[in-house]
């Protein structure tokens, strides 16, 4: 067989139902793999059991939940717990989170796209220094600056406002966004810029007619990444806001711990509810979301 493959490897795939092809395919994707099967099954259990317990408990009456094991399905399912959560500001918190996420995405895009354009195309010390600053910025943990940021936010009179969450969240989403965008921007070939230059296009026009359309993949990754940062953000809201007004969902959930306490069904109903909006996004735009997230990993 080896003497067969060496001279004409290109031929192999063409052999209809030929042995090598068949074996290769089965080998890679089809042949039963007990090890993979078992480990996948274990992980499936690990993922599903908590989710099941969460949903089941969230439908249970509190008295029953206090006595029973959460794995038992509710004997008399109820939506009361969801009602409790919805009557305790959930919608308002969700709306705040959406506002924060939208604003963070907007700021990150408006600032990072031009910056990445400069970082990739402009070759002088300023451009490369700017890029390096963001590269190093990846390493600054948000936790490390929360005290001074609190001081700044308080002095800027932004304490307890949505802006106090939006501005630093956007700043801390920037380094990774720049890395993603510069990665995509580098794939635009020199020839395309030259072609546009021959048409007499300005750098600004190139930004809008070449760079932005060509980095759509990177941009959608950045949208997803920075929206997730806003969605997940906890520390900034915890320290920089206090009242109900600018309370975002993560902080609202955290406060439910004291508020609902061992009303575990209500607590879990709040967790389920917090997952529904993004789950809806996931159902509608699974491809974009998954593709975008793969992009965070550098394709």
């Amino acid at each position: 067989m080896s003497h067969d493959t060496l001279p004409r490897p290109v031929k192999t795939p063409d052999v209809p139902a030929g042995r090598p092809t068949g074996r290769r395919r089965r080998h890679w994707t089809q042949r039963a793999n007990p090890f993979a099967g078992v480990s996948t099954f274990i992980w499936l259990v690990v993922v599903i059991v908590p989710i099941y317990a969460m949903i089941s408990a969230s439908l249970t009456k509190q008295d029953e939940a206090l006595g029973n094991n959460a794995l038992k399905p509710p004997s008399d399912p109820t939506l009361d717990n969801y009602n409790t959560v919805l009557h305790n500001g959930f919608g308002h918190f969700l709306w705040n989170t959406i506002v924060v996420a939208a604003a963070v995405v907007a700021i990150v895009l408006v600032l990072c796209v031009p910056l990445s354009y400069v970082a990739v195309r402009t070759r002088n010390i300023w451009a490369s220094s700017a890029f390096r600053m963001f590269l190093m910025g990846v390493a600054i943990p948000a936790q490390a600056v929360v005290v001074p940021l609190y001081l700044m936010i308080a002095k800027l009179n932004l304490y307890d406002s949505l802006l106090a969450i939006i501005l630093p969240t956007a700043a801390f989403a920037m380094p990774v966004s720049v890395l993603i965008l510069t990665g995509t921007l580098r794939d635009i070939s020199e020839e395309m810029y030259e072609a546009m230059a021959l048409d007499g296009a300005s750098t600004t026009r190139m930004l809008f007619q070449l760079v932005i359309p060509m980095t759509k993949g990177g941009i959608s990754t950045v949208v997803i990444y920075s929206a997730l940062q806003a969605w997940n953000g906890f520390l900034f809201p915890l320290i920089f806001t206090q009242s109900d007004g600018p309370r975002v969902l993560t902080l609202g959930l955290f406060n439910y711990v004291s508020q609902f306490g061992v009303n575990i069904p209500a607590l879990l109903a709040s967790v389920v509810l917090s997952g529904i909006p993004i789950f809806a996004v996931y159902l509608v735009a699974r491809r974009a979301l998954v593709g975008g997230l793969m992009g965070v990993g550098g394709k």
Partner: protein, 299 residues
Amino acid sequence: MKGGSRVDAGRPPRGSQAKAGRPHAALALPAVLFFAFFAIAPMVLAFYLSFTKWNGLGDPEPVGFANWQKLLTDDRLAQSLTVTVLLTVVSWVFQTVISLLLGVWAAGRQKNRAILSAIFFVPFLLSSTAISLLFYALLDPNFGIIRGDTLGSTNGAFLAIVFVGGWQFIPFHTLIYQGGARQIPEVLYQAAAIDGAGRVRQFFSITLPQLRNTVATSSVLMVVGSLTYFETVLILTQGGPGTDTAILPYLMYEAGFKSYDFGYASAIASFLVVAATLLSLLMVKLSGFGAMRSTREGM
């Protein structure tokens, strides 16, 4: 495309062509200023505050090296550093092994894989706060599913944090590995199959080496990400039992927002910045982020 840019970069810039699409560096200024204000300035301010005494009210008073002296002799810092490193390493192993296996498995293209992958992805849709809350409820010693003293024992609390972090982030890293595995040319497997290599050998001699860059990217994200276990620690263990799960960000939070010793908290924060920067420099070096860039730039 890579080839294209390589050729270009080697060519000395000349005439109008070299200027094509090279925007003025000033275009990057808004991003630079914004990031400098909300990320770099606070970092510098944290360093400044670490030389002051400040309880959050009034103005910080300079105290010289007192906070740093305290930091270097504080047993809790040593313990915290150990826990932080341990948490990072154990989480890295746990998440890498599982996401690598799942990711490579999910790179296959049958229907059931798509469905299972979709289920596996669900935990990532919840915020860290929501997930911490979920497990906080499920681990409630009297009213949860796993009743008993899980969070009250050192190992239980530590493993719970590792597990909760993994439960949330493994879907994401699986996705990265899935993306990486799909880019491995099938020809390599064909050749190996023809040589009679078994699945295990194929995994170690083809899959793993081919995924080297993916492992690096995913690892950097995991390590930097393990610092964001702050909310998990705050919600699940509050650093306990005793001080056994007080990771550095939590120690900083406690010094600042429980003892109101913002000077000392800033010293811990500065330490955290230095540690994180060194760590990511090391990882950038090991992972070859820089090297990847230089190949693309054609150096």
